[in-house]
């Protein structure tokens, strides 16, 4: 049996004006001539912030909205939340809506945490009775019982978010809208939030906006990738959407972090399988092999090479074993090495290599270049963990 559709969006569009004065004028016009005729053309200086978005979301499903800044995600969320009206199209929402757009909106800094729970709960649509019943749970969840009777202005930003989330989580919504709010708060709390969302998810439709692809991959079962207000990609193939999202960004520029002038890197090459590909592609569990050539005046010097592999979000995921090499004399001082790592088991994604070279005795740094080259690892599955380790299952028979 199919579960009920809670969110239905049909051909949704919204236009914004680039110029404030003009925008205000249109605002006054809209106030008084709440146009009877359908005005779908763009007026002067207007543009479509969201254009023609449609989707359906059932209970238990989670839709990820991704796209770079200004792609229209937040505008879409505001329409879904009923804060602004669409210019075209239609949204149908069934059930109670909970929005974690900005936690603790409406907190009064002078009032205590307890008083603010009542205010914020009321804003979110809870009745006094409901809050009375839930207040202990809210305080416990927020883990700030000690400070609950202190004015909120003395709270740290993390504490405010905790309190805000604790209230919002108690609303028990049918539709939950989450806009990049989990970024604040310490690790323990983020984990707690995820747990809460996991508990809510089976009885809720979740719309999740995030720039964190691992989170999107973990939570969502369908994705809309937005660009300039339109849906660039839409579907259940989350991994494809994540790839497309990453490809939207220009490759990470390499940057020289340290250079003492003795070594000049000429190139670091990963052979490309095809010239059409923007990046070298390595299939999962194949070998990572690259050629480093550099020029240096240091002869017979032992240099220590370290290569770090960073993921697209600039987290170091791996380091290649440190190796030292003694430079040899050549005509043009050019040194070349081939570096090889067998059976690369990184999960799918785009990675970059950072190189660090240190000197012989005191290990003094000579050169460090971040993100010297990028490459892509291809694997059929989309995984938020950084590695897919090759595994064998061996059946064990009872007799043995």
């Amino acid at each position: 049996m199919d579960r009920e559709v809670l969110v239905k969006v049909e051909g949704l569009s919204k236009k914004f004006c680039k110029d404030l004065k003009q925008s205000l004028k249109y605002g006054v016009k809209d106030l008084f001539f709440n146009s009877k005729k359908k005005e779908v053309t763009l007026r002067k200086k207007e543009f479509w912030a969201v254009k023609d978005i449609s989707f359906e979301l059932r209970r238990g499903e989670c839709l990820g909205l991704i796209g770079h800044n200004g792609a229209g995600k937040s505008t879409l969320l505001k329409m879904l939340n009923g804060l602004i009206n669409p210019d075209e199209g239609r949204i149908t929402m069934k059930g109670r809506i909970g929005a974690l757009i900005e936690l603790g909106a409406g907190f009064n800094p002078l009032l205590t945490g307890r008083e603010n729970i009542y205010n914020n709960g009321a804003v979110l649509g809870l009745s006094r009775k409901e809050i009375d019943e839930k207040i202990e749970g809210i305080i416990d969840f927020s883990e700030i019982r000690e400070f609950i009777d202190m004015p909120v202005q003395n709270y740290s930003s993390g504490m405010k978010v905790r309190l805000g989330f604790s209230i919002a989580a108690q609303v028990e919504p049918d539709i939950l809208i989450i806009d990049e709010v989990l970024a604040v708060g310490d690790l323990g709390f983020v984990l707690k939030c995820f747990k809460t969302i996991d508990v809510l998810l089976p009885k809720t439709s979740v719309i999740f906006v995030s720039h964190s692809m691992p989170m999107v991959s973990r939570l969502c079962n369908q994705v809309i990738l937005m660009e300039r207000g339109v849906s660039f990609f839409q579907g259940k193939n989350v991994s494809k959407a994540v790839d497309l999202y990453y490809n939207k960004f220009a490759l990470i520029e390499s940057s020289v972090v340290f250079d003492d002038g003795t070594i000049e890197i000429i190139s670091l090459d990963i052979p490309k399988t095809s010239l059409d590909e923007p990046l070298p592609i390595i299939n999962w569990n194949e070998d990572l092999q690259f050629e480093l050539s550099f020029r240096t005046g240091l002869i017979d010097t032992t240099l220590e090479f370290t290569f770090f592999i960073y993921d697209k979000e600039q987290r170091a995921v791996a380091m290649l074993e440190r190796k030292s090499h003694t430079t040899y004399k050549t005509n043009d001082n050019l040194q070349r090495f081939v570096i090889k790592h067998e059976h690369l088991q990184l999960s799918k994604g785009i990675y970059s290599i950072t190189v660090a070279i240190r000197g012989p005795e005191r290990k003094e740094p000579k050169l460090r270049i971040n993100n010297l080259i990028s490459f892509q690892v291809v694997h059929p599955e989309d995984i938020w963990a950084p590695f897919v380790l090759k595994t064998n299952f061996v059946k064990k028979l009872n007799e043995e």
Binding site: F16, L20, S23, L24, G27, V28, D30, L31, N34, S35, K36, K38, K78, M79, L80, N81, G82, L83, I84, N85, P86, D87, E88, G89, R90, I91, T92, M93, K94, G95, R96, I97, A99, I101, E102, A105, G106, N108, L110, L111, E115, Y118, N119, A122, V123, L124, G125, S127, R128, D174
Partner: protein
């Protein structure tokens, strides 16, 4: 399960909007109260004199006029009651009315941070504004009653009608405010213009002097509906002649439907405002 549909509002289906508006006012009782309590608590938590600041303005205006009149600088024609009583009732009532005109704008402005982030019944803002005003006004009225007592004005049963007149005047101000608030959210000029106009309007209203027997000012004052509200309210307090009762009732009959139209206008305009407010 509750179903919400958001789409481009085409034309105004007034009755549907009216029904929704009433429904939301009802549904947001607790929110409105909570918002009012929040603001009142927060307002006085950083102040010792607190509520006294609310009287200081109108009372000092009254004192100035009592002084001007008493010292003979300004000759004010007979008002039928002791002049201090006349001036105090005038300035306190005027302060309540002018506050109620500013009420929807102040409430909306104060909530702009939640307006752009949380969807809640916007009517609660207006209702909570009315609660706050009633709270403030009740102290002013208490003060008024004390004055009446000090000046030995006879208390009559008519005085029991005062809350009704009070509500009417708040309703009147709020109605005007409801039409101004959305515009005021778009342009800061509106707020300044209102403050500016109210200063002048006070002199075209029998606040510190009565309606002249003849002349231009009489015409101007009689065109000003606040004249009827203030005179009737004062008449209730001092058991006066109710010269303008009829006009007062007519004004109220006009204001009541306008109030609901104002609520609808406010309701419809908020998304348009929020769209241009999202900083």
């Amino acid at each position: 399960m509750e179903v919400k549909v958001y789409e481009k509002k085409e034309g105004m289906r007034i009755f549907k909007l009216f029904k929704e508006s009433l429904k939301d006012i009802h549904a947001s009782r607790f929110l409105a109260k909570q918002l009012a309590v929040r603001d009142i608590k927060a307002k006085y938590r950083k102040s010792y004199l607190g509520i006294a600041w609310d009287f200081l303005g109108p009372i000092s205006t009254a004192f100035i006029w009592i002084f001007l009149n008493g010292s003979g600088t300004v000759q004010i024609s007979d008002t039928g009651v002791p002049y201090p009583v006349y001036a105090f009732t005038g300035t306190l009532l005027w302060s309540i009315i002018s506050e109620s005109i500013n009420l929807p704008a102040t409430s909306t402005q104060g909530a702009s941070s939640i307006l752009t982030k949380v969807n809640f019944p916007k009517e609660a803002l207006v209702v909570s504004g009315i609660y706050k005003l009633l709270f403030n006004s009740s102290f002013k009225i208490l003060l008024l009653i004390i004055f009446l007592f000090v000046y030995k004005i006879n208390f009559t049963w008519i005085l029991l009608l005062f809350p009704l007149v009070m509500l009417s005047s708040i309703l009147f101000g709020t109605t005007i405010g409801l039409f101004l608030a959305p515009l005021g959210m778009l342009y800061t000029d509106i707020k300044k213009l209102v403050t500016f106009s109210l200063q002048f309007l006070m002199y075209a209203t029998p606040v510190v002097y009565g309606v002249p027997k003849e002349g231009v000012l009489k015409t101007i004052m009689e065109l000003n509906p606040i004249t009827y509200i203030i005179t009737v309210a004062r008449d209730v307090l001092v058991a006066g002649e109710f010269e303008y009762l009829q006009y007062f009732l007519i004004s109220m009959a006009v204001v009541l439907p306008l109030f609901f139209i104002g609520m609808i206008f406010y309701r419809v305009s908020i998304p348009i405002i929020v769209e241009r407010l999202q900083a």
